[in-house]
Amino acid sequence: MTAQLSGAGPVPAAPATAGAPPPRPRRRSGRAVWEGPPSVSGTVAKAVVLTLLVAAVLVPLWAVLVTSLASRGTIDEAGGMVMVPQEIDPSAYITIFSGGDVTRAVWISTLVTVLGTTVSLVLTVLAAYGLSRPGSVAHRGLLFYFLLTFLIFPGLVPSYLVVTGLGLKDSIWALILPSAISVFNLVVIRAFFMNVPAELLDSARIDGAGELRILTRIVLPLSRAVIAVVGLFYAVGYWNAYFNAVLYIDSNDKFPLQRVLQSYILAGQSPNVSGAAVSLPGVTAYPPTLAVKMAVVVVTVVPAVIIYPFVQRHFTKGVITGAVKG
């Protein structure tokens, strides 16, 4: 459903349509004649820079993954981080998932992410639809009410006092409700909704469909791409939130994963996993601390890396709609 995004600049792979003057599609498929041959030094420089950029992202990921799967011997031999995999030793993962802080934190973070993303998406979609009809009652005023949040911000201190005053301290709702509505995301979705052809909505209305029905049956199915991207943004936000937990969560058993990761690696606490050694046949007892730490890093990274490819192709559209129409 890419068609309704007309305002976002030409879609790169636009096929040469009849009628309009053809915009020379060859730019995308190869080098145009007038560009001349590429200079060797330029090409080499480009290749070097891009390779370095890619390596800067992939090498740390690789080192962390390999170290998390390394045995004590390999880690001792390497003197720390391992770059060359020798064997695959899953004991670090078995340890962190056999109860204890990390297991619990994974559950808390998952709960916050799922619950939060659901709440955020439902409320944002409803409001975006409610604001998508110019000329409806109080439309301009309401829009102003939402957009004003871009200019004036609450301070940290009053926000903290409001959240504690509502009795949300030490509750996972403190990690969800204050950040539930992102007006930026709302504006992106609204821009999409406003591009749904009015005739479609009118005909549904004539057939007697209510607004909620029009939203769920017509508008949403046409907007799957933007919903996916915004859902990802929300989910990533909830999964990654760290500071909210520092502010509002006091008890260890409600710490989300980022908080636990911070205490292990940056604050240097040694991982408090279930306390029991792993006693599976053929597996090291007491996996090395470094491997356990790196396993926690991997667990924290994994959700982003898994979901990412599915929504990546929609990024440009999401970002641009926000920038152009916001």
């Binding site: 080192a63 409320l123 409610g130 009809r133 005023g141 609450p154 926000s159 209510g210 980022q258 920038a323």
Partner: protein, 336 residues
């Protein structure tokens, strides 16, 4: 766009009442009829509006405790404490402006902003131009997928990766030790902290920042390049006379937004590393507010610093936008 429109849950009757009265066009429906038609839309908007009221506008108003000697112990809950706390006018601000730690934080914040404006801001533009000139779609797609990825990592993860790679027990130090060198002190050195935080920010958001420029590049009419080439313009002249002017509106827009945000350089990034490099280098305005208010319980002082930041930030963005309008650029608000 004026005061009455700020009511939280409209639709109950009053709000919007001005509009039909203003233009009683014949044939225009009455407010009652429009309400009957539109109430589902208002009901759909209400929950989000209510959340913003409670968690955005209420704390914004709550900034008035900057003018109080706020004491959480004079009431059972923050509201009661607020009512019972003493009003002291600009006392907090006087204390704040006399506090050398506050000025340290301001100076650190502004230095980091300036440094990143020079060494970070142009990089996504360069990356976008470079990616755009890669002919093979497959290579371009691969590089894009990889460099966008760190944007989705939390700051805890980013700092963790840097510690594991460049820290005292990280990969680099380990290699240097094995080669018989004394490892560099990277993660804990206050003198180079500004470079470190910029490197982290670049690592996280370089690729993501390039997206918007890539889109702007693909919107430039290729005929312009062809015509310029036919007239004998070389690669660099085409870059200078076509590509950069094509990117200018986006660059100006992002520059304005960055300037308006000059007093925020990120929060978690600094909280996470403040211990390691020390307050001198790592204290920025946001962390100052946090430590004043929530750690050392000087609520009024923290709120005053927060309000100072908000007001200066608002003034900055309005000014920057005005300048952009003067220069004939679109600016930020023509957006909505």
């Amino acid at each position: 766009m004026s005061a009455p429109t700020l009511t939280p849950t409209p639709g109950r009757g009053r709000p919007g009442g001005r509009r039909p009265a203003r233009r009683p066009r014949p044939g225009r429906r009455t407010l009652r009829a429009r309400l009957r038609r539109d109430w589902p839309l208002l009901a759909m908007t209400a929950p989000a509006a209510a959340l913003l009221l409670v968690f955005h506008y209420l704390p914004t108003l709550g900034n008035v405790i900057a003018f109080q000697d706020y004491n959480p112990f004079v009431g059972d809950d923050p509201l009661a404490a607020f009512v019972n706390s003493e009003w002291i006018g600009f006392g907090n601000f006087e204390a704040l402006f006399r506090d050398p730690l506050f000025w340290d934080a301001v100076r650190n914040t502004l230095s980091i902003t300036a440094f990143q404006l020079v060494f970070f801001f142009p990089l996504p533009i360069l990356l976008a131009i470079m990616l755009n000139s890669v002919v093979s779609g497959r290579v371009r797609g691969f590089v894009q997928s990889v460099v966008y990825l760190p944007h989705f990592f939390s700051w805890v993860l980013v700092v963790t990766f840097f510690v594991q790679m460049l820290g005292g027990a990280g990969l680099l130090a380990q290699e240097m030790r094995q080669a018989g060198h004394e490892p560099w002190e990277i993660m804990t050195n206050p003198d180079t902290f500004i470079v470190l935080v910029t490197a982290e920010a670049v690592w996280k958001d370089l690729g993501w920042g390039a997206i918007v420029f890539l889109a702007a590049l693909s919107a430039i009419d290729p005929n312009l390049y062809e015509a310029a080439a036919a007239d004998g313009a070389g690669r660099w002249r085409r870059l200078w006379h076509i590509t950069l002017p094509g990117l200018r509106p986006v660059i100006v827009l992002l520059l304005i937004m960055r300037l308006g945000d000059a007093l925020s350089v990120g929060f978690e990034q600094f909280i996470l590393q403040r211990e390691a490099v020390g307050r001198q280098a790592a204290e920025v305005l946001d962390t100052f507010v946090y430590y004043q208010a929530i750690s050392t319980q000087q609520w009024g002082l923290g709120a005053a610093a927060g309000l100072f930041k908000a007001v200066v930030g608002l003034a900055l963005i309005l000014t920057a936008n005005k300048i952009a309008h003067r220069l004939g650029e679109q600016g930020v608000y023509s957006k909505s």
